[in-house]
């Protein structure tokens, strides 16, 4: 009898402990081509979760965030998201790769679980999913900015495009070429590359042969670094322009001196001239021992957005959380963890200030701050 009572009490204790936590699984790229992005996103999210838990959690509940690796593979990411859904999550954090998000976000939508993603492909928020939320600009927001820079800043009349042949790269390439056409800038070379590609010699030969006024590079982190090294090796002198990834700190670290001179638009930057962001960068560096890139900010601010919105509605209600996030603006004054004023629109797209940057002496240097689109 005594043992029966003990078991019942233990079960109650476990139940009570479960009540005191909120489940936020991180489904992310920890290996494969997306490992750099995914690890940054994961570490940013973990940093935010630890801070929030240290202060008592969300509405008194501690966050538990089991991690699973998509291996940068859309099929595996779908299985991992299904596994996460089976554990009754409040929200799902990740993945970053657009190709993965496109195949797994339907599962989260069907289960009515808000999904906070780092993906940037334009069509992700154009498919009528009310449960998907970005943590950075989609391509439809960032490409007009980079296109304006190429037209007004570089005065380029022709441009060559190098892009990675996955959902992220294809979406970016399509949006970019549309923006170029709208501004009368001719795309004279259109060079697709493969995800995980290691040898860029032939691609650089093609780009050099096109003799464009500027070269726009839209690949993932590791490929960007390999491309920059090859471009330096072949003596490319034309401006190398990128959108966020090309100028990320991890790319700069991997490319070494070859990254110097690369420039472009960054939707998010750990080097943004914003005191809260710079303080966050130091905090991240101290905790994880490496300089974060924009994906770290995505993970960090994504968690704080959930915290703020949940605090606003006063209870854990997934549907209400999704509804609340649509059209919500969070300022650093309301929630310091959001770092910069951020607005989500009715599609889950994000709006906030962004930056023009250049790589100087192995560091990303912000040269101009661009206002929110809605201002």
């Amino acid at each position: 009898m005594r043992s029966f009572v003990s078991v019942v009490l233990a079960l109650f204790a476990v139940g009570a402990a479960a009540q005191q936590t909120v489940n936020m699984p991180i489904v992310i790229e920890l290996s494969g081509a997306g490992a750099v992005s995914g690890t940054n996103f994961r570490d940013g999210a973990v940093l935010a979760i630890d801070e929030i838990n240290a202060k008592g959690g969300i509405l008194g509940r501690k966050i538990v965030a089991p991690q699973s690796d998509t291996q940068s593979n859309p099929g595996i990411s779908r299985a991992q998201v299904q596994k996460a859904i089976d554990s009754d999550p409040y929200v799902i954090l990740g993945p970053v790769f657009s190709g993965s998000v496109k195949v797994n976000m339907v599962l989260a939508q069907q289960a009515e679980v808000p999904q906070i993603t780092g993906a940037e492909a334009a069509e992700i928020t154009q498919m009528g999913n009310p449960y998907i939320f970005r943590t950075s600009f989609g391509q439809q927001m960032s490409m007009p900015k980079i296109a304006n820079y190429i037209r007004d800043g570089l005065k380029a009349k022709t441009v060559a495009v190098l892009w990675v042949n996955n959902d992220f790269g294809k979406g970016g390439r399509d949006t970019f070429t549309k923006e170029m056409a709208a501004r009368g800038i001719k795309v004279v070379a259109d060079v697709p590359t493969e995800s995980g590609q290691v040898d860029f010699a032939a691609d650089v030969v093609k780009l050099k042969g096109a003799n464009a006024d500027a070269i726009f590079v839209y690949t993932n982190e590791e490929e960007s670094a390999r491309f920059l090294r090859e471009a330096r090796k072949q003596g490319v002198t034309k401006p190398l322009i990128g959108e966020t990834t090309l100028l990320g700190q991890k790319v700069i670290d991997m490319a070494g001196d070859a990254a110097n001179g690369a420039r472009g638009h960054v939707g998010l930057s750990a080097d943004a001239p914003v005191p809260a962001v710079l303080a966050w960068k130091q905090k991240f560096l101290k905790r994880f021992g490496y300089v974060p890139d924009h994906n770290g900010i995505k993970g960090y601010t994504g968690v704080y957005a959930v915290k703020y919105a949940t605090g606003k509605i006063g209870k854990f209600d997934r549907k209400l959380l999704a509804k609340t996030l649509h059209g919500l603006t969070i300022t650093p004054k309301q929630e310091p963890g959001i770092l910069m004023e951020t607005t989500w629109d009715a599609h889950g797209d994000i709006d906030r200030v962004s930056f023009l940057a250049e790589v100087v002496d192995g560091k990303q240097k912000i040269v101009q701050t661009l206002p929110k689109l809605g201002k």
């Binding site: 032939a202 093609k206 003596g235």
Partner: protein, 267 residues
């Protein structure tokens, strides 16, 4: 190819063998605080020990007596173990690897020629020259060739066959370490690098001729040139298929490889 000639060892982990020494160097720098040149020496020493001596003693020797196929399967398993081991214990993402030479360019007749590429070509040519000289011009090299051609007869003639085979494994380890140090500054050091490198090296060896060192070199150069020409002037998307087309063509029309000798074996 050296291993096949002397000990009938087909190593499907050869690509991972090229990937690994770069991580030995990075680990020596990161955890041992060594300078890059010292770390390269440590990397070379560890490669000789792990990829030469231990590979022979722990993997090849116990399994080769059961036939070539079990060894092939073992080296496939070894490739997975090495790859996942690096991913688990060092890093899943690509790591920058310092270059031991200048990364500047020379301007010759309006063309930018990378010092890095020149150094790689020079080191490769010198290494191949030295290897050829060693194999053909020294007593030890000739003993190794004799071992490769007929181990039983070599034993009768008093050649220490086991030691010759060990030398081959050590030379192989030194060569993969050198390849790793040359290629990693360009490709970056990553646990999955062996997949591409291993496949290409294997195809190059078959195309050039599996029983000729110069054949493998010719195969490698041919493959590299065709691959880049196809990617630059035909289609980048189908570049991965070209080496396989070449492989099929060689197997169909010249199975001994471009420079290989026809060999007959008793079965």
């Amino acid at each position: 190819m050296l291993l096949w000639q002397t000990s009938q060892t087909i190593n499907f982990a050869q690509g991972e063998f090229v990937m690994l020494p770069a991580f030995f160097v990075l680990a020596a720098m990161k955890f041992g605080g060594l300078s890059f040149p010292l770390a390269m020496l440590v990397g070379l020493a560890v490669a000789l020990l792990v990829l030469g001596l231990l590979f022979k003693r722990l993997v090849v020797d116990p399994i080769i007596r059961h036939g070539v196929l079990p060894l092939v399967i073992s080296t496939i398993a070894l490739a997975i173990l090495l790859k996942e081991g690096v991913k688990e214990f060092y890093a899943a993402d690509a790591q920058p690897f310092p270059a031991a030479w200048a990364t500047t360019n020379l301007e010759i007749a309006g063309a930018a020629i990378s010092v890095q590429s020149l150094v790689i070509m020079a080191v490769a040519l010198v290494t191949v020259g030295l290897l050829q000289y060693f194999l053909a011009g020294t007593a030890t090299g000739r003993r190794m060739q004799a071992t490769a051609q007929n181990p039983a007869l070599a034993r009768v003639l008093g050649i220490p066959v086991k030691r010759m085979i060990l030398y081959t494994f050590l030379i192989n380890a030194a060569l993969v370490a050198l390849a790793s140090f040359l290629v990693s500054p360009i490709y970056l050091a990553k646990f999955s690098n062996g997949e591409t490198l291993g496949l290409v090296a294997f195809i190059a060896a078959i195309v050039g001729g599996f029983n000729q060192v110069k054949g493998a070199i010719v195969g490698g150069v041919l493959l590299g040139v065709i691959d880049n020409f196809v990617a630059a002037y035909l289609s980048a998307q189908y570049r991965a298929a070209i080496p396989l087309f070449l492989l099929i063509a060689v197997i169909l029309f010249r199975p001994q490889g471009l420079l290989g000798r026809v060999e007959e074996r008793t079965v």
